[in-house]
Symmetry: C2
Subunit: 254 residues, 2 copies
């Protein structure tokens, strides 16, 4: 199988290195990732300036690798539609992210958006993130992804599904198991810090502490808190079908 690997921490991050190395055991690996960190870029794409692509040596490996001056979604789009035009990947795997991508937060995530971009192009995809930034190694998570990739690839039942994985940072023997989850709710407080520059003008830093909220029993946040690997199936159809009929009844006039 041909595997396109990307991330949002940048092409020279530790997580993408361990991921790409491990994936070599199960297929042909190509890396196409941002030339620097692009966290919290969500599903941004670059339309106002052109993209540069540099073919680079990927650490100590011989893996084919492209460093791109764009967002994670740009990288997947450009790799599939231009760089690998005649070598379409079977799967896109994004990560391993240095920190979690859980609940409401996935909408801001460059890591997850890269996987979503693959799904939009009808390619199977996985996003993989470490459950905290307190990381000692990425190898266990990388090996886990290899197994998941083999299980989900070309499975028509889950064709339009992006697999979003968060992997605990505890030692492997302490991992409780695997839970298939739904996206929980994440909210923040004190989200902006105001400072003054030397000329007395204000500027604001985006910040914020996670608020402890009650979670649904299936929540990815809860699963991770309890020591499980969370696997959340996600998709890109934002239509709110539950309120569709209610909105229809409002009977809007032109």
């Amino acid at each position: 199988m041909r595997i396109l690997v990307t991330n949002d921490d940048g092409i020279f991050a530790e997580g993408i290195y361990d991921l790409a190395k491990a994936l070599q055991d199960i297929g042909e690996v190509i890396v196409a990732a941002p030339n620097s960190e692009r966290s919290a870029t969500g599903h941004a794409i670059t339309i106002h300036h052109p993209l540069r692509v540099d073919k680079v040596r990927f650490f100590d490996t011989t893996i084919e690798a492209y460093s791109i001056s764009g967002t994670p979604a740009d990288c997947v789009k450009l790799a599939v539609e231009a760089l690998l035009k005649d070598r379409r990947p079977d799967i896109v795997i994004s990560g391993i992210n240095n920190g979690p991508n859980l609940g409401t937060d996935v909408i801001y995530s460059g890591t997850v958006s890269a996987a979503v971009e693959a799904a939009i192009m009808d390619i199977d995809s996985i996003a993989i993130s470490m459950g905290s930034t307190n990381i000692t190694q990425y190898t266990d998570a990388a090996n886990f992804v290899c197994r998941i990739a083999k299980e989900i690839i070309h499975n028509n039942d889950i064709k339009d599904t992006i697999i979003n994985i968060n992997y605990p940072t505890c030692p492997k023997e302490e991992v409780k198991g695997v839970k298939v989850t739904t996206l929980g709710v994440r909210k923040y407080e004190n989200t902006f810090i105001e400072r003054k520059d030397p000329r007395g003008n204000s500027y604001y830093w985006t910040s914020g502490n996670v608020v402890d909220m009650e979670q649904n029993q299936d929540s990815d946040i809860l699963a991770l808190q309890n020591g499980y690997i969370s696997i959340t199936p996600i998709h890109f159809d934002l239509t709110h079908f539950k309120t569709f009929e209610k909105i229809k009844k409002l009977n809007f006039q032109k």
Copy 2:
């Protein structure tokens, strides 16, 4: 009602001017919008550099207005959590965008992401876009939004719903009516154009032509093509509930 207005075309775009002016008839209007165009920024937020805020004169009006060095999602977050901390808006309205936000494309849209950010903060919201870039005036769309805002505000039945509107650019008398729709499918071909710089190095422009695809009968794309105003209820929970049970059956082991 207190109305926060934003967009992704930048604070001095025509669309936001006509929108804010019209909304003055139904409430207190505050504008907080990007200081320049931020199209296709999706749900990006700014975490690696601070945000600057300038209080600005908004065209020929006395509307309270803030020009912000961030994305549309940043603008909504910062306005609600910092600038209007003790004056929480009742509704956030984003637009009027110079061009459509339909189908799969809404995931890339700064206009829609601003409205999504409001929903994440439990605030009612509307995204409004013109159905094409062939725009002669924004006034009809702005007046339409005033009516919709009054209908949906504080309606508990549709509390967690973002209202995504696309308004035809034909004369008002030719508008066929209003359709409540689902997000259709938008795909592109020839998505990258490769060029050479004067030193012979390649660069790529994101481009692409919309592929004509078969649409579901409820599709927003179809409604607009047929001369209707499309109203699509959307939400931010990306969980793919349809495949949740199927994924569970795969029985992953740690």
